[in-house]
Amino acid sequence: MKYLFSGVGALIALATFVALNVLSNALLGNFRLDLTEHQLFTLSDGSRTIAANLDEPIHLYYYYSKDAAEEIPPVVAYHERVLSVLESYVRHSGGMLILEERNPESYSEAEEQAAGHGITGIPVGAEALYFGLAASNSVDDTEVIAFFGDLSGGGLGFDKRERFLEYDISRLIYSLAHPNKPRVAFLSALALNGTPGNPQMRQPGTPPWRIIEEIRRFFDVDVLPTSIERIPEDIDALVLVQPRQFSEALLYGIDQYVMGGGKLIAFVDPHCNLDESANDPSNPMGNMGASKESELNQLFSAWGFESVAHTFIADEENCLSSSVQQGQPPINIVPYLELKDERLNSEDPITSQLDTLWMIIAGSFKPTEDASTSFEPLVTTGLRAMSMDNTRVQVPGQPDFLGMLQGYVPGAEEFVLGVRISGETSSAYPDGNPNGDAGDETEPAHLSKSDGPINVIAMADADMLYENFWIRERKMGQFSLGYTLVSSNCDFLTNALSNLTGGDELISIRARGKFSRPFDRVKEIRDQADKQYLDEEQELTRLLEQAEREINSLLSQQEPEAGEAGQFLISPEIQERIEQFRENKRDVGRRLRAVKHDRNKDIDALGFKLKVANIVGIPSLVILLGILLGIARRSGRKG
């Protein structure tokens, strides 16, 4: 013991203490319990797999202006989360991910590098706030997240994107690890590549669909002929658009493709306006009543869901409006659906960031009983939608939209317009190839059960991909003034393809929990005051308009009096009324300002009360307790 208690002992103890901690830092770094509500600091399995599977180094350049951010606590908090996710990635990457933090101060090298990566700073007071990520792989491909928020709403927009922070970073890393553009094949009864036309029959050609061009920016696109019988093996995703009159062989090929783990997006439609494929040019009259419906229930029902046949969905609360007759005011076109906010699944990375989807005469999907797959709605109608029979739109010329509106009977259920199907399931051809075995040795073996989980996305409208329904060109005579997006339909397809071709790991990453937790009670006070403000504002505006109308009518009634030099004199009564009107207007302004002021006062009062309670109140209670106990003890001693 004597030896232990000496200077030497102390030194040994110190050495042990230091060594123990150095070791524990090195070895135990990954052993931690993430007690946060949504495991915010732990990567999901998909991300971990993506990181672990990297076989070539990827450089991550994290641009963050520490000084500019310190003024804004939400930025600092979100930065800590972003950095934590990036560091987790690095830890799981076995050295393949190299993280470099850069602080782009004015005139620094980092500022130039940021500009080189296309990342700009947001002006915050006198400084610029940089908060983004650039990454590059060994072949110098670069992917960038210019800003970790969303500035479109006016604020910093962290709460809009934070749930998909991990997904965004995973997708960025994945696409750098797989620099070749994914291959996407399209199969359709529609002429997606356009038609050359037939000069003899005086038929003009049609241009290729714009959306194919857009998709080509990110993917290698192949529009396959519907005569094929097997889906090529090297494609990463297959898109079916209006799959009408596909041959049995092709359907079998699609089934086997999905069974083999192929990713599929299917756009079926109860009535596809653009489908001219049934048209027989020699029998124009006969085409009038021809069905333009496509459905794949033969395959879908084996996979756990089906589209409801021969019906389309109308939703009065979520539709577009337009004028159906020239000169008439616009009416609600109930089967032309406009879907936004709660109608789009906010948990799924495909739909969570979309603004508005337009679906033009769409059907709906239902899960089958005993489905082994999961049925996850991506797009739904409101609760008061109703279904209508196909025949109402299978008419020559324009369907009777007015009649649909007038005869609208609100339903009581939501209809599913778009769905994600995943899970293991069986083939639609349990007995093998319906055309029999060709005896061809190069044909792959028949799969009667899926090899792992399938991933299918189905949408109940095909017209939505046509350019009229997602992009408009602004023209001035002959000149094009550029394009505006009118819906997010194209983004939907891009997101869906990105998600499906990102590998199973990316597909498995969903929305994570929210990091930001604003005070609900303060929000309540604000919302209530805002509502009050709006109500008052409406009321007062109404009164003002009324007063203005009165004055105008009085002025118009009065006869002009000739005054000196032909001046127009106003009678004293009217003058008084105008004065009164001005006084009212000032009053209004005062009252509205008072409402705003009160709201702030209420919030401040709450803050003050809480501060006093915590700083003074609780300690006072302790003092009281102490005094009471002291008295009790003293009286105990006396007694």
Partner: protein
């Protein structure tokens, strides 16, 4: 073990025998409340976030000043008044005495921390805080307090003067906080290799406490605080033994 607990209970009762304990708790709570809520510091209400950030970030500073005040009387007074000799004649080992006094002081700190529960309740009233994360923060704070206490206890055994023990106790505590500042890390990086600097910063209280108050309880954090407490209590015993010999 039983002796240790007896000593602990005796010490704790001694704390509450005088108003000093209440005064200490009140000061602790007032300072904690002030630093959490006032706009210049934590600004909990103004930040509009239902998390423990405004509250926990001040704990290292709170402990820096208050815990040496608590630990200064652990040994300095005993040595000055000579009661330490009396203590040593009792059928207990030095280790049990040290541990008992330490646990009493630690538990007392725990009581002070418990007194801050109204702050948690305030957060719950205002919004929807992540309760598990806040719980983790409390655990981290309690462990860190133990670290401060162990240092203070060792320092108080060096001197017979409580005030000296108080001031001297603050120095190593401050050092352990300081090495966690990025500014200090950068400055050290000017003349030390990067690996040495990151090793040094990994010994800071801030490094371990920050991740715990976010909701992450790491094994390395527990190892750190545990080994720190044991090391300084060992030093404590060493010093007392050396002084006893004189």
């Amino acid at each position: 073990m039983k002796h240790t607990l007896t000593i602990m209970k005796r010490e704790l009762r001694g704390y509450f025998a005088t108003p000093v304990a209440y005064v200490f708790i009140v000061i602790f709570l007032m300072l904690s409340g002030f630093m959490t809520f006032s706009e210049g510091f934590g600004g909990l209400f103004e930040r509009n976030q239902a998390d423990g950030g405004s509250f926990f970030s001040w704990h290292p500073w709170l402990y820096l000043f208050l815990i040496p005040a608590l630990s200064m009387r652990l040994w300095a007074e005993e040595r000055r008044s000579g009661t330490i000799e009396l203590l040593m004649t009792l059928p207990i080992t030095m280790a049990q005495a040290i541990m008992g006094k330490f646990l009493a002081a630690w538990l007392f700190t725990g009581i002070c921390l418990a007194g801050t529960l109204p702050t948690w309740i305030t957060l719950e009233y205002l919004g929807d805080p992540d309760n598990m994360a806040i719980g983790a923060g409390y655990i981290g704070s309690f462990l860190m307090a133990g670290g401060f206490l162990a240092i203070g206890s060792a320092v108080s055994s060096i001197t017979k003067n409580q005030v000296v023990a108080f001031v001297m106790g603050m120095v190593p505590c401050f050092a352990f906080i300081l090495i966690g500042f990025t500014g200090v890390g950068d400055w050290l990086g000017d003349f030390l290799p990067e690996s040495v600097v990151s090793t040094i910063t990994s010994f800071s209280f801030l490094d371990h406490f920050n991740s715990m108050q976010k909701g992450l309880i790491g094994l390395r954090d527990i190892v750190f605080f545990g080994s720190l407490i044991l090391f300084f209590l060992f030093l404590n015993a060493l010093i007392l033994d050396a002084k006893k010999a004189r």
